[in-house]
């Protein structure tokens, strides 16, 4: 199996390191002749995407914002324009809504515990498979990555049985050694950690693949030099692997964080947010308010609060990423 030796991938990625500056480099000097010749074509090639983007992304993004300032409810689904403007009411109400605050807390819990665990285990898996294993590599990599590509609903269904307190996998393993497993999904204490464990299991493969690609981009000479200088495994890890992998790790952190802040399927299928809202996440709360109760204005405000949180954290993390690669 190959991560870095594919015909086009790494080269293509390497050509343009700075996406923002990519538009102008190298071609502008050839001047207006080619510019004017490509103007129409460029826009024609862009149009299908831009139309779809405008209708199915930009419009809904703006509409969500507008809806969040209204009392948009069930009847407005067919008569959207009759929704009443309520100013910031939805937002002020949100921050007095214990259920939403709990959802916000739960989502934070999911991220704070889940992201480091996913990154750490994904990194460990990458180091293990990249440095220690050269037989049956493909088997190991497929095994670790398989949860990523499987349908979350099917996976969740199985995990419900794995975690079942009476005849589940973990309960029976525990009873073998004389322990009693908790009622994972039925306990307010254990439900969230169980969902996090499942998410970590499911997502560490992505981090692993990113890290393997990153590891393979580290020049062999650097490792050799360290080893000749007598660096041990631990020193090599701390002194070389992790620092040089930093951009990869931060990128993996950013995408994992965004994914976990949006977490929806796990609680939806596994616990329905229970017991006692202990696994209610912001996305699930939004879905319920929006589509079960049709409090769409209120749910829109929720979506925007989540959006602002995600943007804030992403910008923060990207800034870290830039500072560290400079």
């Amino acid at each position: 199996m190959s991560l870095t030796t594919g015909p086009a991938a790494p080269q293509a990625a390497a050509v343009d390191k700075s996406p923002h500056g990519g538009g102008k480099s190298g071609r502008t000097r050839r001047g207006n002749r080619s510019l004017s010749r490509h103007n129409l074509t460029g826009w024609l090639f862009s149009t299908p995407f831009l139309v779809l983007f405008g209708v199915f992304m930009l419009f809904p993004i703006v509409a969500t914002l507008l809806m969040s300032f209204t009392d948009f409810g069930a009847r407005n689904v067919t008569r959207p324009l009759e929704a009443e403007f309520v100013g910031l009411d939805n937002y002020t109400q949100l921050f007095q809504d214990d259920k939403f605050l709990k959802a916000l807390f739960n989502t934070g819990y999911f991220v704070v515990v889940g992201v480091p665990a996913t990154i750490l285990l994904g990194l460990l898996a990458a180091i293990l498979l990249n440095n220690g294993i050269d037989r049956a590599r493909t088997l190991f990599r497929v095994g670790f990555y398989a949860p990523v590509v499987t349908t979350i609903v099917a996976v969740a269904v199985v995990w419900r049985f794995v975690l079942d307190p009476s005849d589940g996998l973990i309960a029976s393993l525990a009873s073998e050694v004389g322990l009693t497993a908790p009622d994972f999904l039925g306990s307010e204490t254990w439900a969230m950690p169980s969902l996090i464990a499942m998410a970590v299991w499911r997502n560490l493969g992505t981090v692993m693949v990113l890290c393997i690609a990153g590891l393979q981009a580290i020049p062999a000479e650097v490792r050799e030099a360290a080893r000749l200088d007598g660096a041990g495994v631990w020193q090599e890890l701390r002194g070389i692997t992790v620092p040089l992998l930093r951009p990869t790790l931060l990128y993996a952190t950013v995408i994992t964080t965004i994914g976990y802040l949006n977490v929806f399927e796990e609680p939806f299928v596994m616990t329905q947010g229970g017991p006692s809202d202990s696994t209610l996440t912001v996305s699930l709360d939004m879905y319920r308010e929006g589509f079960n109760f049709f409090h769409m204005g209120y749910a829109s405000a929720m979506a925007y609060v989540l959006f602002v949180v995600i943007m804030g954290i992403t910008v923060l993390q990207l800034r870290l990423l830039k500072d560290n690669t400079r």
């Binding site: 460029g42 969500t64 590509v149 979350i152 199985v158 990113l210 949006n262």
Partner: protein, 304 residues
């Protein structure tokens, strides 16, 4: 891997980078002693990762007695297809399968076309506003999908597209990730080739279709896999955009069945495992065959 790896750990470490043979001659203080232990650790981890899949696959063939046995049995004492037959009796699995397939194929085809078109324009055509269009693509990459589902539902409802394939496909018909991927790959196509074709009088569509597309096939393969799988596994939008069970996609049907309080406990669980297996199996099969492209795609996205 470029290098043909030999049996030592040390070579494995460097095999992926440049494939230079010189690296293999490094001192191996830690190599051999560490290897068996690493294999043990990796195998245990692999077993943990695979356990839910094994459990799913084996349970699908278990009898009611085996399913409810305590302590649970791993290997069915009697293999049976009952779970599959009663699943097919109770749920219209072929229809859900067809729905998932139609939606995934349409989403994939439209993404391949539109994303490669815009990818080409962004990589190779100078046009006023190009950097702005690219900025839009990058911004779209960062917007969480849940942000737009509420008005999207209202819009689709207004257009009469709830419970239609169009309603399931259109919001995903052209993704920013695909554009980004295609742009990155298209940048590696030599400008000289395109200029030569232009001098020969070729039109931009001809150049795109006859020169660029064949050269970016690896990227198209990656995009195909990602888009198809993304669509196949998509859950929240099909959940919202379908009310009519005839239009459910597989995950929605499975979730509805899983959360149905009327589902009989013992046999129902076996059916659930059988259903999960049917949903997961095609995906795992495709992945096992094409995993090189998957990991390449992920790696490419990460190297940006």
């Amino acid at each position: 891997m470029t290098a043909k790896t030999d049996e030592t750990t040390e070579t494995a470490k460097t095999a992926g980078t440049a494939g230079t043979a010189a690296n293999a001659r490094a001192p191996r203080r830690t190599g051999r002693a560490r290897t068996p232990l690493l294999y043990v650790i990796a195998s245990v981890a692999l077993l943990v990762m695979a356990a839910p899949f094994l459990w799913m696959a084996l349970s699908a063939f278990k009898t009611k007695q085996d399913l409810t046995a305590s302590p649970p049995v791993w290997i069915p004492s009697r293999w049976t297809l009952d779970n599959f037959t009663s699943l097919l009796d109770q749920l219209d699995m072929p229809q859900y399968f067809l729905n998932s397939l139609i939606v995934a194929v349409l989403v994939t085809v439209s993404n391949l076309l539109f994303c490669s078109m815009l990818g080409y324009a962004l990589a190779k055509l100078d046009f006023t506003g190009r950097s702005k269009v690219f900025a839009v693509v990058l911004a779209a990459l960062m917007v969480p999908g849940n942000l737009m589902i509420l008005p999207l539902y209202v819009l689709m409802n207004g257009l009469g597209l709830i419970d239609t394939y169009a309603g399931l496909v259109l919001p995903f018909a052209a993704g920013a990730f695909g554009v980004f991927l295609m742009r990155q790959f298209t940048l590696s196509v030599p400008d000289e080739l395109l200029e030569a074709a232009r001098l020969d009088g070729a039109g931009e569509w001809y150049i795109f279709w006859r020169i660029v597309i064949p050269l970016v096939k690896p990227a198209l393969a990656t995009l195909t896999i990602f888009t198809f799988l993304g669509s196949w596994n998509n859950f929240i939008w099909p959940l919202i955009a379908t009310n009519d069970p005839d239009k459910y996609t597989l995950p929605v049907a499975l979730a509805t069945f899983a959360n149905d309080p009327n589902r009989t406990v013992g046999g129902g669980n076996g059916m659930l495992m059988a259903g999960s297996l049917l949903v997961v199996l095609p995906v795992l099969a495709v992945f096992a065959v094409l995993q090189r492209h998957f990991t390449q795609g992920i790696a490419t996205a990460g190297l940006k």
